[in-house]
């Protein structure tokens, strides 16, 4: 057992830092750092910079544009990006649908979609959940009926994140009602400009509109856009879930958030001193820092197993639950840190950077309560934490 970073990994980390210092646009990092929402252009601009460096798709095979990094190097890269305030790479294309296309797609699909994903030419969204199918996803009812060389798709997808920007949607549709629910599901790639698609924003409790309803009304999708076989979509979707599990823990993002929390607690007055010296707050800060250390320790173990080519151990199952608990705990403390200035609702202060008025209260405050409310989603999406526990009870504990 050897628990310090190797010389090779230290050198790699220094390379990543140098690249970020040199290439990460200051205005984007500053926006992200002060809690401004990033625009589609901000994300695409950053992803194209990564592409030019050859670092857009660290998890891909080298011949398709990957980096050949070890699992540890990918982790170091994610962490350095987060600490530098780089935008999160939007995962729907590069880390979600791309591995499925690589594993189960036709050569034509690979040739068409993978280079466009790598260059961020297409923005992808995920069409899984439906109004009647949340945790029980296999009950989904959006129907695809074969008509010659096309499927005709009708139904509704919901909670579709950033669908308003999307060029493509990967989706699960029902092609059969007989047999087991799971066996009648097919995986389709749908062009969002197809006639019959309507995207309707859903305003969430934080006042933002990043999720959407996507209505499909007799949308014609070429059969060539089907992944693999008809009726095998559930298998492909499960394959997707098994990919890049360690990144779901978001250790780097949470480290950056903890740093921000400490800075704010150090600036907020409390009694004769600042909040960071308040014994009660200090203990809660210490507790979440320990939780984050424990999470990171487990991530490192899982990364080691991945690098050594071992199957993920039981620890990997906990990364989503603990990772989201830590993220939510940090946003909760951020809200508490600013006290009454959590309340003023000034979305202009963090939604656009051309707002010229002074915010009421400290400039870091307006974004915090929306952040807290927004992050309640984390324990619900990607298989709710309760579903994760069902899976662990069955697969790890054998109950």
């Amino acid at each position: 057992m050897e628990l310090v970073l190797s010389a090779e990994d230290t050198a790699f980390r220094d390379d990543v830092r140098a690249f970020l210092k040199d290439k990460l646009p200051q205005e984007i990092a500053a926006k992200a750092g002060s809690g401004f929402r990033l625009s589609k252009d901000d994300h695409v601009r950053w992803q194209k910079i990564l592409f030019e460096k050859g670092w857009m798709a660290p998890g891909w095979p080298i011949e398709l544009g990957g980096t050949g990094w070890t699992a540890m190097q990918k982790h170091i890269f994610d962490e350095e990006c987060a600490l530098a305030g780089a935008p999160m790479v939007i995962p729907f294309g590069v880390t979600m649908v791309a591995p499925v296309i690589m594993a189960f797609g036709t050569q034509a699909q690979k040739d068409r979609y993978l280079p466009r994903i790598l260059r961020s030419d297409d923005w992808w969204c995920q069409g899984y959940s439906e109004p009647g199918s949340g945790s029980d996803l296999a009950s989904l009812r959006t129907k695809a009926v074969r008509d010659g060389d096309h499927y005709v798709v009708t139904g509704q997808k919901t909670w579709t994140t950033l669908a308003q920007h999307a060029d493509m949607m990967f989706t699960l549709v029902r092609t059969s009602d007989s047999g087991k629910q799971q066996e009648g599901i097919t995986f389709l790639l749908i062009d969002m400009k197809s006639p019959g698609i309507t995207v309707q924003p859903i305003t969430t409790i934080d006042g933002s509109a990043e999720i959407n309803n996507v209505f499909l009304d007799d949308v014609r999708v070429p059969v060539g856009n089907r992944i693999g076989e008809e009726g095998k979509g559930w298998t492909y979707a499960k394959y997707l879930l098994g990919h890049e599990r360690t990144s779901i823990a978001a250790v780097g993002r949470s480290k950056a958030q903890l740093r921000r929390l400490k800075a704010i607690a150090g600036a907020e007055a409390s009694g004769d001193g600042t909040l960071i010296d308040d014994p009660d707050f200090a203990l809660r800060l210490a507790q979440i820092e320990i939780d984050l250390l424990a999470l990171e320790s487990l991530v490192l173990r899982a990364l080691y197993a991945e690098t050594a080519g071992k199957p993920p151990g039981p620890e990997a199952s906990f990364l989503k639950i603990k990772g989201t608990e830590v993220q939510q705990g940090l946003t909760e403390l951020l809200v508490e840190a600013v006290g009454p200035y959590a309340a003023p609702f000034q979305p202009e202060a963090f939604r656009q950077d051309n707002w010229n008025e002074e915010p009421v209260g400290p400039d870091y405050a307006p974004a915090l309560a929306p952040l807290y409310f927004n992050w309640r989603k984390a324990s619900i999406y990607g298989g709710s934490n309760e579903i994760q526990k069902n899976i662990i009870a069955k697969t790890v504990l054998g109950l």
Binding site: M1, E2, L3, V4, L5, S6, D9, M72, K262, A282, L283, L285, A286, Q287, E289, I290, D291, L293, A294, L295, S297, L298, L300, R301, Y304, A305, A308, P314, E315, F318, I321, K322, E386, K389, N390, I392, A393, V396, L397, G398, L399
Partner: protein, 377 residues
């Protein structure tokens, strides 16, 4: 960076698991617990034969020079089998203190005997009013020709009654909570002026309160520098926190396994308890608590050997805090999931619960180490 055990570490883990599974069953332990000493000298000789007593000791003095990770591997298995022998007192605390602070003569005299299983030690540091603060020492040592006269009260000294030597801390200068002014002494428990009040502990071990009243210690039995023992004590205790946490993790592991088996066997409402989702989720939370404590444990073990000062202290404090929280939660839930059966002394689960609970109060509980961690941030 690597989280894999080396071949030697895997061998240690395998041989410990094999030996203890074979020789250290629940019933054998109960017999030993109730015998006069509260532990088995025959078992202790076997530990010596296995090389476990020599494991973390320096190679110059009959040891194997093992790392803290090696120690954690062994302690995890001790926890899984609820070992009652004085390993922590003798090897992890006692011998380690001598290895760090002792003179060449002291090390040469004592450490090889520890490795061979011929001599046991006890660590008489904590005091009734000290709680968990390692610097809060009121016991006093007064200078006398060629030596020192000790007086004071040492609280809950594990395995003192059977120890051949006590390692006693006492104040040679300064006020009760000062960092400077603490000195370590090797004390013969049979010497005049040393009185022991022995008792069993609720988790199946033995301990004693030690009353020092005019005990005379020659200069040759001063351990390390006069007035400057605290940094040594802190290093030794931080390493012991890792060892104790590893023991707790082993106990958590066994507790979860026992509880899982029970849920699969016990039938109510026409189906096994394991089929109830509310119980499944509780088990998953117990498992998560153990996995996180274990991950922190081996990381902290690495930090003990690789880092010094604040980094080492932070790693130990984070770990012990998490261990305390996890142990309490897993223990309480395991009893609850066992229902009435969990309350009976005949079931092993209660014994694990008691050990995990008492590990929390050894060298600082979860709340203490959380505060300590906050102070180090």
């Amino acid at each position: 960076m690597s989280f894999a055990f080396t071949d030697d570490q895997q061998l240690l883990a395998d041989s410990a698991a094999r030996f203890l599974t074979d020789k250290y069953g629940f019933d054998a332990r109960r017999t030993v617990m109730t015998a006069e000493d509260g532990w088995s000298r025959e078992m202790w000789r076997s530990f010596a034969d296995m090389g476990w007593l020599a494991l973390p000791l320096p190679e110059n003095y009959g040891g194997l020079g093992g790392s803290t990770v090696d120690l954690a591997i062994l302690m995890e298995d001790f926890g899984r089998h609820l070992v009652v022998e004085p390993y922590l007192a003798t090897v992890v605390l006692g011998a380690e203190t001598i290895a760090r602070a002792g003179s060449d003569d002291q090390k040469a005299e004592i450490l090889p005997q520890v490795a061979e299983g011929k001599l046991t030690l006890a660590f008489a540091h904590g005091e009734p009013a000290g709680r968990f603060d390692l610097a809060r020492i009121a016991a006093a040592a007064a200078r006398q020709d060629g030596g020192w006269v000790l007086s004071g009260h040492k609280a809950v000294v594990h395995h003192a009654q059977t120890a051949d030597r006590l390692i006693v801390s006492a104040r040679t200068s300064g006020q009760t909570a000062d960092r400077d002014g603490i000195t370590l002494f090797l004390v013969d428990p049979q010497a005049p002026g040393v009185a022991l009040r022995p008792y069993p502990t609720i988790d199946g071990l033995r301990a004693a309160d030690v009353i020092l009243d005019g005990a005379v210690v020659p200069d040759s039995d001063v351990l390390g520098e006069v007035d400057a023992a605290l940094p040594v004590i802190e290093q030794v205790v931080d390493r012991a926190l890792v060892a104790l946490s590893a023991e707790a993790v082993g106990a958590m592991d066994a507790t979860i396994a026992l509880t899982g088996e029970y849920l699969k066997t016990r039938q109510q409402f026409g189906r096994p308890l394991a089929a109830f989702q509310v119980l499944q989720h509780r088990m998953v939370e117990m498992l998560a608590a153990k996995e996180f404590a274990r991950a922190l444990c081996y990381r902290a073990a690495g930090a003990m050997d690789d880092t010094t000062g604040v980094e080492r202290a932070r790693a130990a404090a984070a770990l012990k805090s998490e261990t305390g929280r996890a142990g309490k939660r897993i223990g309480q839930d395991a009893i609850q999931l066992h229902g009435g059966m969990g309350m009976t002394d005949d079931m092993a689960v209660g014994h694990y619960f008691k050990r995990m609970t008492m590990i929390d109060v050894q060298f600082g509980n979860a709340a203490y180490h959380l505060r300590r961690f906050a102070g180090l941030s």
